[in-house]
């Protein structure tokens, strides 16, 4: 079943922060985060494994709450280059490395 992302879209001014959430009704082994620019392929940002670890990539970080089957992506001090659509991909237990992607969150960072 497809994970649910919220919000569907967010508009930021440069330097502002934002949080994108990803929720699943299934028990998860891992959560991936990808960013896709218009007309381009998705680009891998990071993986969160069960255990609630937090990771970072530039000023983008994420957390994974295994008990709630939720992950959050944090955009801190946003830059113009952060604009794009962010997708979470969830991996269930014993599903290999097969991901189910959410519907995406469109992020627009304005000067």
């Amino acid at each position: 079943q497809q994970p649910v992302q919220s919000p569907q879209a967010v508009i930021l001014r440069e330097g502002e922060d934002a949080v994108i959430n990803c929720s699943s009704s299934k028990a998860l082994y891992s959560v991936h985060w990808y960013r896709q620019k218009h007309g381009e392929a998705p680009v891998f940002l990071m993986i969160l494994l069960k255990g609630g670890e937090q990771k970072g990539h530039e000023k983008i970080s994420a957390s994974f709450n295994e008990k709630k089957q939720q992950s959050s992506l944090y955009l801190t001090a946003s830059q113009l280059s952060y604009s794009g659509t962010y997708f979470c991909g969830t991996e269930q237990r014993a599903a290999g490395n097969k991901l189910t992607f959410g519907g995406g969150t469109r992020v627009l960072v304005k000067p």
């Binding site: 990808y34 680009v43 991909g89 490395n97 097969k98 992607f101």
Partner: protein, 114 residues
């Protein structure tokens, strides 16, 4: 390194025609995947493979077929194209579990069925 290479980049098919979307990776990844992305939507898994000779269906396999004869190549075959298959197709690969086993995506094939 080229990463994941997809050809063609664009294609227009007539209803009922068939075609093969090519995908090649040079990273020696065991896992390969085909996803489709409809406008403004997320990615849906069509087929995947965990190694040469092993393939399995994903979420939306109807109307498609795959084969995996080598580690590098994972072609996707469309039989009897239908307008509902108009989409952007992404091939991806990943390695087995380890540190940061994220997907590497190809640049995509934009297919229009008319």
């Amino acid at each position: 390194n080229a990463g994941v290479t997809q050809t063609p980049k664009f294609r227009i098919l007539k209803i009922g025609q068939s075609m093969t979307l090519q995908c090649t990776q040079d990273m020696n990844h065991n896992y390969m995947y085909w996803y489709r992305q409809d406008p403004g939507m997320g990615l849906k898994l069509i087929y995947y493979s965990v190694g040469a000779g092993i393939t399995d269906k994903g979420e939306v396999p109807n109307g498609y077929n795959v084969s995996r004869s080598t580690t590098e190549d994972f072609p996707l075959r469309l039989e009897l194209a239908a307008p509902s298959q108009t989409s952007v197709y992404f091939c991806a690969s990943s390695r087995l579990r380890g540190t940061d086993y994220g997907y590497t995506f190809g640049s995509g094939t934009r297919l229009t069925v008319v």
